[in-house]
């Protein structure tokens, strides 16, 4: 791999990070202004990272990669749904940090299973 192509990959990751961070910030600002808090929760599970990342993907590598990323995202989103079912009851007994971190393990296992099981388009 040449120095130029490594630099290009670094720029791609940096642009995705910047775009994802900005979209997350936008959704967070909306969530902060929303009441009730359950409605704010809807925005905490918004497509912020996806929008930033997919826009950079399509600009740099094209629509086929965008579709492939969205294929994978279906598995992540299904796992996120399971995460949101599991974490609130755990929060009552374990507190926020332990519940949320345990939820990440549940997310990982569910996402892996869904990724293997869901047909790719």
């Amino acid at each position: 791999m040449t120095g130029g192509s490594v630099a290009r990959l670094i720029v791609e990751v940096a642009l995705k990070a910047l775009a994802g961070g900005l979209f997350v910030l936008g959704f967070a600002v909306l969530a902060e202004m929303m009441t009730p808090k359950r409605l704010a929760g809807v925005f905490s599970a918004g497509p912020s990272v996806a929008l930033g990342s997919l826009l950079v993907t399509v600009a740099l590598t094209g629509q086929a990669d965008m579709r492939a990323a969205a294929d994978g995202m279906r598995a992540g989103a299904a796992a996120f749904f399971v995460y949101c079912l599991v974490v609130p009851p755990l929060m009552k007994t374990w507190g926020v940090w332990r519940a949320a971190l345990t939820g990440l393990a549940v997310w990982g296992a569910t996402a892996a299973a869904a990724f293997l099981l869901l047909p790719q388009s």
Partner: protein
């Protein structure tokens, strides 16, 4: 009993957009959210480069942003409001599944702007729609 002590039973509240709430948010909390978003996006980008865009795409729905939000809300406003936000996020994930399905189905057939607009609209309809339905169901059910 004053109004504040009743606040956490919050689905009786009217839906409002309250810009002044933003003034209560510390800039540091917004920076933390930006960094979580940038970190998750970078992780998805690195996985895409190492293992392909489909596996990288899984991390586009990584719940780290919610984790950041819950811990910040719990610290600032208490565990009951963090719990309420966690319960509400399940509706957002229904929209997120719809978002991903629509992008996967339309990405190579439609212009990018149309595919992403349809996907965001789907997120809003499923996410906000299921939230509103749950409010109606809670009221009519008791």
């Amino acid at each position: 009993m004053d109004d504040e002590s009743k606040a956490p039973d919050e689905d009786d509240e009217r839906i409002r957009l309250v810009p002044r709430e933003l003034a209560r948010t510390r800039p540091k909390d917004l920076v933390i959210r930006f960094l979580f978003g940038a970190g998750v996006s970078a992780l998805a980008g690195v996985v895409s480069l190492a293992a392909g865009p489909a596996l990288g795409g899984v991390f586009l729905a990584f719940p780290a942003i919610l984790l950041a939000s819950l811990t910040l809300v719990a610290r600032r406003e208490g565990p009951r409001l963090a719990y309420a936000e966690a319960r509400g996020s399940v509706f957002g994930t229904l929209g997120l599944i719809g978002f991903a399905v629509v992008v996967a189905a339309t990405a190579v057939h439609w212009p990018v702007w149309a595919a992403l607009t349809a996907a965001v609209a789907t997120w809003a309809v499923f996410g906000l729609g299921s939230y509103l339905l749950s409010r109606v169901a809670a009221r009519t059910g008791g």
